[in-house]
């Protein structure tokens, strides 16, 4: 195993996702792993982070004592605003999302299926948090990346032939990034395009419920690359 192979799985996923973020774009990061993505981006890239609650240009959590209850992220946590930030109402915020003005959203997932469809908002009878802004994000963002741990804790695949959990949208997501692999859903199915350092194609296949298309050699994730 390489040095990066020992990386915390969530950190690895966040770092790989960061390489997908292009300079001067508008990006929305979901809660959980996606939130970590911004830690791996250079502040000089000119990326503006949007949050559903109405801020474009969200910055890091401010130092203790410098927070304000009028400036929070979509989870209600204190944030700061970068120079050039703007604040908008919820209709405008979802206008940006649904209207295709958001270049990228990185979201967590409960399941992704062979069609590239995502389920990430409820487990009937078990967990019903509500969809919040997820359905609009998956429907409207120019690019959707699902960032998630590859399999459930008990080993059950989260990448499945067809979602058994309620869908978030009928849209095919653009990329799935896990601690094991990078998978690109296309018209003909799920393409395995990278494996994590030290992980074999066979190991990814074993942990995946859906068929994976492999074309030639599958390169290892480059975790040093940025866009």
């Amino acid at each position: 195993m390489t040095e990066t192979g020992k990386m915390d799985p969530k950190e690895l996923i966040a770092r790989r996702c960061a390489a997908e973020v292009k300079p001067h774009t508008l990006v929305n990061l979901g809660i959980g792993i996606p939130t970590l993505v911004s830690d791996h981006l250079d502040e000089g890239m000119g990326v503006f982070f949007q949050a559903e609650n109405g801020v474009v240009g969200m910055g890091r959590r401010p130092p203790e004592g410098m927070s304000d209850r009028h400036l929070t992220d979509a989870g209600g946590s204190f944030v700061s605003a970068v120079p050039g930030a703007s604040t908008i109402d919820s209709a405008f915020s979802f206008g940006l999302i649904r209207g295709g003005h958001l270049d990228l959203t990185v979201l967590g997932g409960l399941q992704v299926d062979g069609r590239g469809f995502l389920a990430n908002w409820m487990i009937p009878g078990v967990y019903v948090p509500g969809m919040g802004g997820a359905m609009d994000l998956v429907t409207g963002a120019k690019r959707v990346i699902v960032a998630m741990i590859h399999a459930a804790k008990d080993g059950t695949p989260k990448i499945v032939p067809e979602c058994t959990l309620p869908l978030t949208a009928e849209r095919r997501v653009d990329l799935i990034v896990t601690e094991m692999a990078v998978i690109r859903p296309e018209q003909d199915g799920l393409h395995l395009i990278e494996t994590a350092p030290g992980v074999t194609v066979g190991e990814v296949r074993a942990a995946t419920g859906a068929a994976l298309i492999v074309t030639g050699d599958v390169p290892a994730m480059d975790l040093t690359r940025t866009c």
Binding site: L71, T87, V128, M135
Partner: protein, 217 residues
């Protein structure tokens, strides 16, 4: 021109069983004094339209805890165990609406449109039982307008003609809900003399506001 009301006077206008829009996002930009007073007054059977259930002590939380609600219409309830519990017990009806659809349904009611044609929710549970309308070859869900008897608005500043400003992410649903309540009650952090808010800084014109809550003494 308004005679500012006490929070108790304002809350007395709201009968049991009313539908109430409550602004705020995870409790940020929620009119907390009105929420507390509604809970204290022991209102019952309210239908609340609010983005999220926040947490038990934030946003709509105190109204849930005090069992003021019959129905909750919103996009997220994941961080409020009280809602989950009352929902499972059959005491609270919950209607989950995608957040962008929720705000557009409220806006549609407020600006006199007949509904929302949105791609959000197509092919999901949200689409069940709803009409799909095709426009220029693309399908959209038809979502109906959503109005309420009351809209409770948290403003940063207010003047005595009812003009409102909001601050940063405490804006969220406020300006949209202020369009869609049959009676609009604003709870500002401060009330300033008429003319002190520049016309371009007003986010809700006073013409939309029916009552203003007095400052804390």
């Amino acid at each position: 021109m308004y005679q500012a009301l006490t929070v108790e006077e304002a809350v007395a206008l709201i009968p049991d069983g009313a539908s109430v829009m409550l602004s705020g996002f995870m409790g940020v930009g929620t009119p907390d004094r009105m929420v507390a007073a509604l809970a204290a007054a022991g209102k019952t059977g309210l239908t609340v339209i609010v983005n999220d259930a926040a947490r038990p002590d934030r946003g709509v939380g105190p109204l849930v805890k005090a069992r003021c609600l019959r129905k909750f219409i919103g996009s997220h309830i994941g961080l409020n165990p009280d809602v989950q519990e009352q929902m499972r017990a059959g005491e609270l009806e919950v209607e989950l609406v995608p957040q962008g659809t929720l705000v557009e349904r409220i806006r549609a009611a407020g600006v006199g449109l007949g509904g929302v044609l949105t791609p959000t929710g197509l092919g999901t549970k949200v689409a069940e039982g709803k009409r799909v309308i095709e426009v220029e070859g693309k399908p959209y869900l038809l979502e109906p307008p959503l109005a309420a008897d009351f809209a409770l608005i948290a403003a940063r500043s207010c003047d005595y003609v009812g003009n409102l400003t909001y601050m940063l992410t405490a804006t969220n649903f406020n300006p949209i809900m202020a369009l869609a309540g049959r009676v609009v009650i604003a709870e500002p952090e401060e009330i300033v003399p008429v003319g002190m808010i520049p016309p371009d800084a007003v986010k809700t014109p006073g013409a939309l506001v029916d009552h203003v809550i007095r400052r804390v003494a």
